[in-house]
Amino acid sequence: MNCKEVHKNLIFYFENELNTETQSKIKEHINDCVSCKILYEKIKNTLGIINIEEKNKSYPFFFTRIQQKIDELNSSEIKTGFLPSFTKLLKPVTLAILIAFGIFFGINLGNKYETNNYTESNENLLQAYANEYYVNGLNEETIETFLLND
């Protein structure tokens, strides 16, 4: 067995998951090859960490801390009452109202200043406005009259 084949099976060799023939071939190779032996030792020690991980059995005051957290959660629910669900609902409702108001306002504004749909009273109103502010060209003094007067 060569080094490459050994490297492919080191973890399974360590866990004794290979058939007896392969196990013994790898064992033989590791005994003869220094670099594979070092590599195997390194991997064995690293995977060995899993087995020496500290497993605690007792955790003092663990339940007390959970109870405290549950009490805090309950009291905050009582304090806020229906507020969390109300605030959740409030945001989309306010947004919908604002959008509806915007659309309504926009339509009304558009109707008010629509230019293609004059009524007779609108025409009169415009004429009066034009006369008042000399917008009408006919009522303006011509250049000839202006010169003759002088």
Partner: protein
């Protein structure tokens, strides 16, 4: 007290029954969380959240299921969420550090192949490389491998926890071992030769 009776009592707001459940399963939950986050204090904090979730949603528990399977599932989910948040925080901190503190700081890195390094440092180095290698496995490989190797959970129970078939779990753990082996060999080849 049997688990089914215990759960029935907890549903009826029996605090003593809840305490009994916590006492019975606290080491299972804390050790599972610790297997993923590798920090005893963080593991206890996550385990507290696991039991609070159990308390709040005990009425949803299906009687035919095993309580330990449910506990494992919540512990794994909460631990992985915690790791995700921790990674995000580290990233944000490193970005902050990059922009706020442009001066290069010297960091002391212990020599990885020093023969004089004591056993404590060597063990820490081994832990680091092992945890990093496990962390780099795919999501499902990490869960299956960690539960089986650190918590001695059987393949059958892992299949129930992860909602997978037994053969899928076997294949996941096999692939996890191959990937882990590759990463460890690459690391040690660089550091030995």
């Amino acid at each position: 007290m049997e688990d089914k009776i215990l759960i029935g009592k907890i549903i009826n707001q029996d605090h003593r029954a809840f305490k009994e459940l916590v006492d019975k399963y606290s080491s299972l939950v804390i050790n599972t969380c610790k297997s993923f986050v590798h920090d005893p204090d963080d593991a206890q904090d996550i385990a507290q959240d696991v039991f609070i979730e159990i308390y709040q949603s005990i009425h949803k528990f299906r009687e035919e299921a095993k309580i330990s399977t449910w506990l494992y599932r919540i512990s794994v989910n909460k631990s992985l969420n915690f790791i995700r948040k921790r990674k995000k925080n580290i990233l944000v901190k490193s970005i902050e550090h990059f922009f706020l503190n442009s001066e290069k700081e010297e960091i002391d890195i212990p020599a990885s192949n020093s023969q004089n390094a004591d056993a404590g440092i060597e063990n820490e180095e081994r832990k680091n490389i092992l945890y990093k290698s496990i962390e780099s496995l795919t999501y499902n490989q990490k869960i299956a491998f960690t539960l089986n190797k650190f918590e001695d959970v059987s393949y059958k129970e892992i299949a129930e926890i992860m909602d997978l078939s037994l053969s899928s779990v076997e294949s996941l753990i096999h692939r996890a071992k191959i990937n882990l082996q590759k990463k460890l060999i690459n690391y040690y080849k660089k550091n030995i030769y």
